[in-house]
């Protein structure tokens, strides 16, 4: 029996971008407001899970050809890498640096290496979440 789910597919095609936008907002808001890498990663992961629910594994893999176990591994590598890099500057493990820089067009901005660590956390959360949900909800 062919299932008719035109409404679901059309709605999700728009909603998934709202979810991803909220995820990225939460990721960057985490610097000095509620949010951060973990919450942003959870929201981004639930957006990807929504895509998998609406379409199927083959279709999503055609547009997003990531192995999510490797995404999680890359996230851990990024987070520990930003932590270990502090050892080369003779400061304790996990020390983060920040500063104010004048960027072209944007003006003076506050940049810090915590963002790299948070990106690692977010990638780890996305990879782990999608891997777990795909493994427990697969048919057969």
């Amino acid at each position: 029996m062919k299932v008719n789910d035109v409404i679901l597919k059309s709605v999700v095609r728009g909603v998934v971008f709202i979810v991803f936008t909220l995820g990225m907002y939460l990721f960057f808001a985490g610097h000095n407001a509620p949010g951060g890498g973990f919450i942003g990663g959870l929201v981004l992961g639930s957006g990807i899970v929504l895509l998998y629910l609406t379409y199927d594994i083959e279709t999503v893999h055609k547009g997003m050809p990531f192995d999510f176990k490797k995404v999680a591994a890359f996230g851990v590598l990024l987070a520990t890498g930003s932590a270990i890099a502090s050892l080369f500057f003779n400061v304790p493990f996990l020390t983060q640096a920040d500063g104010y820089y004048n960027l072209p067009l944007l003006g003076e901005k506050h940049l810090s290496t915590v963002t790299i660590f948070e990106a690692g956390v977010a990638l780890t959360v996305v990879g782990t979440l999608v891997t777990i949900i795909l493994n427990i909800s697969e048919d057969e």
Partner: protein
């Protein structure tokens, strides 16, 4: 006066969530449970909005957005399980 109205609304939302919870536990069929869970989600969103009016803060707005997204995804997953028996398909049906 407005404070009394807001508190009364919170109590009524609590009552509505309790009634929906009864339907989730007792519900004779699976679609009853799916609709009751979605109702609980909507009631929670409204209750959080009223709590943020009572406390006069904007800190709960992200919680409202995330709860809306999660209720949406949960309802879709539940109804897809009821309709087809699988949640994530390996390849498209047609």
């Amino acid at each position: 006066m407005i404070d009394l109205i807001l508190k009364a609304a919170l109590v009524l939302f609590m009552l509505a969530i309790a009634l929906s919870l009864y339907r989730v536990i007792k519900g004779p069929s699976l679609p009853d449970r799916a609709i009751a869970l979605d109702t609980i989600g909507v009631n929670l969103i409204s209750a959080i909005a009223i709590v943020s009016i009572v406390l006069n803060t904007k800190a709960f707005l992200e919680a409202i957005l995330i709860l809306g997204i999660l209720a949406f995804i949960g309802t879709i997953a539940f109804s897809k399980y009821i309709e087809r028996g699988v949640i994530v398909e390996r390849k498209s049906a047609d």
